[in-house]
Symmetry: C2
Subunit: 252 residues, 2 copies
């Protein structure tokens, strides 16, 4: 029996606005959820400033040890948009104008003042790249082999992800179920640990909360195997019931 192949992706978020605290990132969670539907696990994320060396280091480290690499941010027309140059440098290829990107932008800006030199910046890609469709603003995302260069604005990223759905090879999606319980997690920590140990195909995460003046926790059970997951969830609910703790299926 060979071990099941797990497909992984890494994400590099490029943007001073995230590191300054000005902008709340929303791409990590939407990309993570989307990847899981493709059977790919988000394995690590880095947030780096708009500095070429920092982008190159992150891209080269992470693409070497993951099946796929995604980036968000820095693909607009302004001087602080340096993602394409940085990724081309990381790959050791020149930056070229993509003919289809140019023609898409020409069409988009035909009624919006024309395709200026600054706007043409959005047609620049690392040599060898394909485009990822963006119906929203004309400026496409970019695919270069296993690297996916996406917008920073979350709803544009969402459309680019949509355009990519079903095109990436992956494995089994990670399934999860949640049991909620009005209990301090410290009171049942030994039950969680023993249940996880007894179910090798599953991981159990414990996420405490404080709500309505009471403490509780959600226990998230994860596995790529539906049957193993169901058995583990039932075993955990039984063990907690045995300790007098009622659980809520689906979480609280």
């Amino acid at each position: 029996m060979s071990e099941e192949r797990i497909w992984t992706a890494a994400l590099v978020i490029i943007g001073d606005e995230i590191l300054s605290g000005r902008t709340q990132d929303k791409n990590v969670s939407q990309i993570a959820l989307w990847l899981n539907l493709q059977g790919i696990r988000l394995a690590e994320v880095r947030v780096v400033p708009d500095v070429q060396d920092a982008i190159v280091e992150a891209v080269n480290t992470l693409r070497a040890r993951n099946d796929y690499l995604f980036t968000t941010g820095g693909i607009g027309p302004t001087h602080d948009d340096i993602t394409v140059d940085a990724i081309a440098a990381a790959l050791g290829v020149p930056v070229v104008i993509h003919p289809k990107a140019r023609s898409v932008l020409e069409g988009y800006y035909a009624t919006r003042g024309g395709l200026t030199e600054m706007r043409l910046r959005m047609a620049r890609v690392p040599e060898g790249a394909d485009l990822i469709e963006n119906r929203m603003s004309g400026a496409p995302g970019i695919r270069h082999g296993r690297i996916f260069i996406m917008a920073g604005v979350p709803h544009i990223t969402a459309m680019m992800l949509d355009a990519l759905s079903g095109t990436l090879e992956g494995g089994k999606p990670l399934l999860s179920d949640t049991l909620g319980c009005w209990v301090p997690e410290s009171e049942v920590a030994d039950i969680l640990s023993a249940t996880e140990k007894a179910h090798a195909a599953c991981q159990i995460g414990s996420y405490p909360f404080f709500r309505e003046g009471r403490v509780g926790a959600n226990f998230v059970i994860r596995s790529t195997d539906r049957q193993a997951l169901d058995i583990c969830v039932a075993a955990l609910a039984d063990a907690l019931a045995g300790a007098g703790k009622e659980t809520v299926a689906g979480g609280i």
Copy 2:
């Protein structure tokens, strides 16, 4: 004239729940904003899974090249809380029970079922550490030299940051002003670039948006020098006005 010293921090977010997309991170922005008030710049962020090797690699790489290192997550009482062990491994020190943390937890759990073995896990620290106060739940944060080990739950992290306010050496805070403009950023990209080049002490970021059926952008000007910042903001507003683009002070 010596160049101004810039103090930097890195942040390692430890948590499968962020990488799975289940939980939306809120610590990056609150820690970034808090750091800036201390005169410290958030230089890089990594999100890593609940896996010791991944935590050790991130901690050792980032503490070597930043003044401070913060972590969030993984300091609770359950089996998936491995942050303290991982950081002790990264530092090459043993894990010990901190006597003050034990007594704080004893007090907290006196009326809550007593300090069990699992709960005592929350008093474990890398040898040589001090505590960071947490009025909320009894479980303290941990300071080890330039490393700060914080909770994952954002409002507990906020209280730990509050307890640390004014205790870290930093430099001048990065100041910022925003000009909003109902214009596609591609139309004024050359003005932004030229203005930034003419004001060496400032950086200009451009953040486009789509709202009320119209496109616009906020231009964020950043500097540690108040006077240089004011001059740059005025110059940018003038240059945009000269191109027939009205700006909104403070952003849109």
